[in-house]
Symmetry: C2
Subunit: 226 residues, 2 copies
């Protein structure tokens, strides 16, 4: 109660299964007394491309455009574009970040990857020698909640599903100092019965009820590749 949650949501259709998972999270967390903010990326027509437009005013080095350097410098002088500043404010205030999306190609949809690329700039999310356990977004939790097209068996046949979590959970969240809760994976909701889908929605509600008691995972290589 009193906790702040930011849900970054990447599905085009509110009537989708991802839309139902979002709705459940908003309702359940609000019921618990949390304050919930949603960044509905498609509805916002969020820009995924990392370009010069993200820097207001002059460039640090107009001779050779380096996005990482330019956004770092712009962050320090308060010169990042408005949409980024707004997202950073939401992140700063949040105790928990939930990412809700359909898995696209073993990873996030580009619109969500663009959110990571553009919002989590140096100076804000990490800095020189301030990364991993020293990252700048400490005392925050994150949770990747996603749906897949293929069944659990199809994924397991080629390798552990955890392999594909490494870049997202370790490479991004852990790098910024954000703790990571167990991912929430709904396998192939499009290909199961209506009953099974309802079961999956109920399971999400149930998990959210005790979410704040969960321990973060140990985000080391062993968790992923043991």
């Amino acid at each position: 109660p009193g906790k702040k949650v930011l849900i970054v949501y990447a599905h085009q259709d509110p009537k989708s299964f991802n839309g139902s998972l979002l709705k459940i999270a908003v309702e359940e967390l609000t019921k618990q007394g949390c304050s919930v903010t949603v960044s509905d990326l498609y509805a916002m027509q969020f820009e995924p491309r990392a370009t010069r437009n993200d820097i207001v005013g002059h460039l640090h080095n107009p001779e050779a455009f380096n996005y990482g350097v330019e956004t770092w410098e712009a962050y320090k002088r308060g010169g990042l574009s408005k949409d980024l500043v707004e997202e950073q404010k939401k992140v700063q205030e949040a105790d928990l970040l939930i990412f809700q999306f359909p898995l696209f190609w073993f990873s996030m949809p580009a619109i969500l990857k663009g959110w990571m690329d553009r919002v989590l700039v140096q100076g804000f999310a990490y800095d020189l020698s301030k990364s991993y356990d020293g990252g700048l977004l400490q005392d925050k939790l994150s949770l990747f909640s996603f749906t897949t097209g293929g069944s659990k068996e199809k994924y397991a046949a080629r390798g552990d599903i955890r392999y594909l979590l490494w870049p997202m959970q370790h490479g991004i969240m852990h790098f910024c100092g954000v703790k990571v809760l167990e991912p929430h994976i709904c396998y192939a909701p499009m290909h199961v019965s209506e009953d099974k889908r309802k079961e999956m929605l109920t399971a999400w509600t149930q998990r959210l009820k005790t979410l704040w008691k969960e321990e973060p995972i140990d985000c080391s290589p062993e968790w992923y590749f043991k």
Copy 2:
């Protein structure tokens, strides 16, 4: 000689180190008698977002928008948007796909991820039970060539760099039936001496000279997580 190469390139500035790597590849491969096409994503202002705009005309199911289903159906009836059809034509004709980009967050920049999300649709790149060794883009090679911000030692300290190649090489290329050559990684070009940078550029030229003699990697979990 006579081989066709598509380079999908994701850097904002031609004067960047990525720009130099691109230039070298175009020159060296052209010199070999290859026909080289470049998709310069930022220059094209390539759209990374997967939306309804990618389908020309009616939707298969207007009640619930599912991007995978809609692009599959649109592909079958020739109803994909023009920019996607053009990229698919380039892929179809290519013997080798080179992806040239700076690593962003253990993965591709969003603009390149959007190219994967939108171009490699079902029916074109894979299909029901046509994936991995049965994928639809067989007899093609791919190569991920990228630069990093951090040093080789920094990456190695947290786990093998190969861990982050799994979603890109296995989850995308291998899934579509495309064979994968060893990645080409230039570590931290921004933080090394001018001499070292020149060395890295020369190494890329040298590698390209004998590229067609290379054997693809064995894209199994063992290669990544041994």
